[in-house]
Structure formats: C-alpha cells, structure tokens
C-alpha cells in the first residue's frame, strides 16, 4: 500500500510529521502520518497537555487512543505547546480522514531550531514505512 508522505513536511521515526509555518518561523505544526493513522485504526480520543506546556524532543507529551489500542505521542522537537486542534475533541476521526491537514494535532514554538536538522525528509521517512 502506498502512503502519502508530502514533500514539504519533516518526519520522525515515531511516524509523526512536522510543518514549519514559514521559512524562518519558530512555529511548527505537528501531526501523525498517514501510515501511523492506518496502523492505529479509528482514532477515538486524544489526551493532550494544556497550552504553555514545555515539550522536550523525544519525550512523550500526550496519548492517542484508537478503537483498538493506545499510543504515545512524542515531541518531535523541544519547545512550548502553543495550541492544539480543538476540532479533534468532537471529531477525532479527522486524524484518520485528513492526517496532514484537518487532523493536525498540536502547534509548538521551537526553542532550538537546529533540532529540525535532525528530522527526516519525506524520502528518508518513506524508507521507514514497512512494506506489507
């Protein structure tokens, strides 16, 4: 199965994506990849921290529950959580239906932009998606 992996995004080995909101912006949007949502199945609930919470790269910051399982969300970068997708409270299925757009999960203000260099581009991430 072919999964979408948009070229304009950065990725983590935990199957999350990150989009920088402008070339020099220190604000990024984070979500999970199409592969990740497919593996999880129907998303039914997200447990996310409040705005202002400090995130540190690689550490779990929230949980995503699907009909059959629960998975941790890991911070792709360090920084401050500046917003989460309120639409997901009533429509968590947006993570499945539109993982790269309407199903975004949190916005983060970077504390160290150089951490972005450690993330994967679309080509590198595609290598990590197992073939069925």
């Amino acid at each position: 199965m072919e999964y979408q992996t948009p070229e304009n995004l950065l990725y983590t080995a935990d199957h999350e994506w990150l989009r920088r909101e402008g070339d020099d912006s220190d604000e990024v949007t984070v979500g999970i990849t199409e592969f990740a949502q497919e593996q999880l199945g129907d998303v039914v609930y997200l447990e996310l921290p409040a705005d202002g919470t400090a995130l540190s790269a690689g550490e779990p910051f929230g949980e995503i529950e699907s009909a059959k399982t629960v998975a941790e969300l890991f911070a792709p970068v360090s920084g401050e959580l500046i917003g989460s997708n309120g639409e997901l409270e009533d429509r968590p299925e947006l993570v499945n239906e539109s993982p790269y757009d309407e199903g975004w999960i949190v916005r983060v203000r970077l504390s160290d932009a150089s951490e972005l260099d450690g993330l994967l581009d679309a080509d590198a991430y595609r290598e990590l998606i197992p073939e069925d």
């Binding site: 199945g41 039914v44 609930y45 447990e47 009909a67 059959k68 629960v70």
Partner: protein
C-alpha cells in the same frame, strides 16, 4: 501455526487486516472498526465466525448426555430451538459458554469458543463417545446482524425466515446446499447465524456482501458485544467466576433436578448472598477505559477491581467497561474512578445493556 479461514482469500480481497485469535488467523477489520460497528447498528453486517468450534452429538441419548455436563435444562428445549448454556467445573466456575441447538431426529449441535475447542470436544467425547463429531473445519459459520439483517436473509432464504422467533433454528435449502440457520447473534441486533459446508460458503458470503451486508471483523464484533453487555469468556467470565455473579443465572437450571457437573456448587452459590457482581461502567469524562485497568473508589480511594473488558463505544461515543465490583458498589448510579494510565477518569455504574436497539426501548 495459525488455522486459516476457508474464505481467507475473499477477506483479503475485501481489504481485511488479519490478527491471530485463539489459534486462528481472523479478520480484525476491513474498512475500520467504527464504520463496521455502525453498519451493524444502522443497517447490516456480515461476520465470518468460523473460528467458533462446532460439534454434533447425534444419538437418542444426546440430550441426557449433554445435560450431564451443561447447566441449562435442554431436556425441555423443543426441536428447532437453540439456547445459551455453560460448562461449569465442580466449583461452579465457568469453563466455557456455549450455544446448543436442538434439531430433529435427536441431533444436537454445540457451539464452543475457539480457545476451548479441544477441551470442550473432549467433554462431549467423554459423555457421548462416537456420537460426538466435530465439524469445525468442514463448515463455515457466518453471522448476519443488524436492523436490516432479516430483510436480507429473507431475500436469500425466503420469506418464511421472518416467521422465526429469536433462538429458532432451522435447516433450509439454498441453491442446492443445506444451511443451518439460527436467529441468534452476539451484537445485540436482530439477525442470524448460518452454518454451511465450506465448499458452498464462498457463494453464500458473496450473496450477503452483494446483498448489502458490510464485511465486519473481530474488532467490531468486540465493540458490539460490549455495548450489548454480552460477556466474553476469558475476559468477563472464566473458571473462577460463577454464573450468578456474572448475571448468567438464566443459563443455569436447577429446578429440573437433573444432575450435572457443578450443580452442587451452583445450588450453594445461588443460595449464598453475592459478594460481588459484574457491573457495567460508563465513563463520565473523555477517555477510553480498557481491560485490566484498575477501578478505584471515588477520590483516589482503594482499588476495588480491574476491568474485565473495556473500550470505546462507537454508538455512545464514550468509554464503557465491565468489572466485578463488591455488591455495595455495584449499584446503579455509584460513581467510581478508572485509573487510565495514571489519570483518574470518573465512571458511573449503569444498567445493562449499554446500548439498546431502538425497537426494544
């Protein structure tokens, strides 16, 4: 080594994702658990449940033989009727929950859970000898469930189907093959279950799917049965739980005087005041409660139980679960907490089932 379903290729072609279950490679889901669940609640779905073990006992003494190892008074079960029953141990604990069908000419069909197929068949062998024969591999079992199930079944099998009462079972002919049909299920919806020889099963499956039934996997089967508050053996009932505390007293007959394994213990258990009861918990906050999570008294109190089943209810859009609670806490309206990986989620003891089909309410 997993056993493959006879219809594996068909499931694969429909996009099934498989998972191992009790030694079988089973479709977990096709398009997704929630969509399949809602299809069964709103329209009709079809499940391949061929992992359930099927055995015949055919003999004039079959009823007595079965009665000696099962809890329900099948000697009064009329021909053409099926009933839920249990195998208990000497302590009255539930070794397995089963369905028994009474067919004409002293033929009885028994449906076992896959996980206990061998031990259960051994039980039948012990009491019935060669009159017991297993047909799990030669047959396929399909469940058609949902408010539109009987319409679809009527189109395929003829309008007489509609006259069947719940738990009626009948052998009918469909395209030159014999189908054993029972108006039963495990979803809380109307519908039925069909047993057909494996060679003709593909055609029947195709007829259900092209007739509008949504293919459904074990994932949706579990969320549907949990909403309907139907216990799952291995989770909610097991050899250490007795039928009365599990709310399964209807499956135990003591008044007919028949002797069966576990009878003495069950007579005693019935007379004794209950110390715990299988209670139905609904989350009163956002989050999913799952099997194994601790249940505490409100306000971060004592752990009083672990959930035996739990999950997200797609119909109610909230977390639901089952737990054996001390009777004083098992009363409707009691507020408790479930420990969701360190977070206390309030839950309320509610009446069963969690979800009731609109026609019953």
């Amino acid at each position: 080594m997993l056993t493959s379903l006879a219809l594996r290729e068909r499931h694969l072609a429909l996009g099934a994702r498989f998972a191992p279950f009790a030694g079988w490679e089973m479709p977990l889901q096709y398009q997704g658990i929630v969509a399949e669940h809602l299809a069964v609640r709103e329209r009709v779905g079809v499940f391949d449940v061929s992992h359930l073990a099927r055995a015949w006992v055919e003999s004039p003494r079959a009823a007595e033989q079965l009665r000696s190892v099962t809890t329900f008074d099948i000697l009064s079960l009329p021909e053409g009727k099926a009933h839920y029953s249990l195998y208990c141990n000497d302590e009255g604990g539930i070794e397995d929950d089963i369905f028994i069908y009474h067919l004409p000419e002293d033929r009885w069909l028994v449906i076992h859970n896959a996980a206990h197929a061998e031990a259960d068949f051994e039980r039948l062998r012990m009491v019935a000898g060669d009159a017991a024969s297993e047909v799990t591999q030669e047959t396929v079992m399909l469940a058609v469930q949902g408010p539109e199930a009987m319409v679809l079944l009527g189109r395929l099998f003829g309008p007489a189907i509609a006259a069947l009462e719940p738990r009626d079972c009948v052998e009918l002919d469909w395209r030159e093959t014999s189908v054993l049909f029972a108006r039963t299920g495990y979803t809380g919806e109307d519908g039925g279950e069909c047993i057909v020889e494996a060679g003709s099963a593909g055609e029947l499956w195709d007829a259900f799917v092209s007739g509008g039934a949504t293919p459904c996997g074990l994932g949706a089967r579990d969320t549907l049965r949990l909403e309907a508050a139907l216990p799952l053996h291995g989770n909610d009932i097991d050899p250490t739980t007795h039928p009365y505390e599990a709310g399964l007293g209807f499956a135990v007959s003591l008044d007919d005087g028949a002797s069966f394994i576990g009878r003495d213990a069950l007579v005693e258990a019935k007379a004794r005041p209950r110390t715990r009861r299988l209670a139905h918990l609904a989350a009163r906050g956002r989050g999913v409660i799952r099997a194994g999570y601790d249940v505490r008294e409100a306000g971060g109190g004592e752990v009083v139980a672990q959930l035996t089943s739990g999950g997200h209810s797609p119909s109610l859009r909230l977390g639901i679960g089952l737990a054996y609670l001390p009777v004083e806490l098992a009363k409707r309206g009691t507020m408790l907490e479930v420990d969701v990986r360190g977070r206390a989620l309030p839950v309320e003891v509610v009446r069963r089932p969690f979800y009731r089909t609109p026609k019953d309410s």
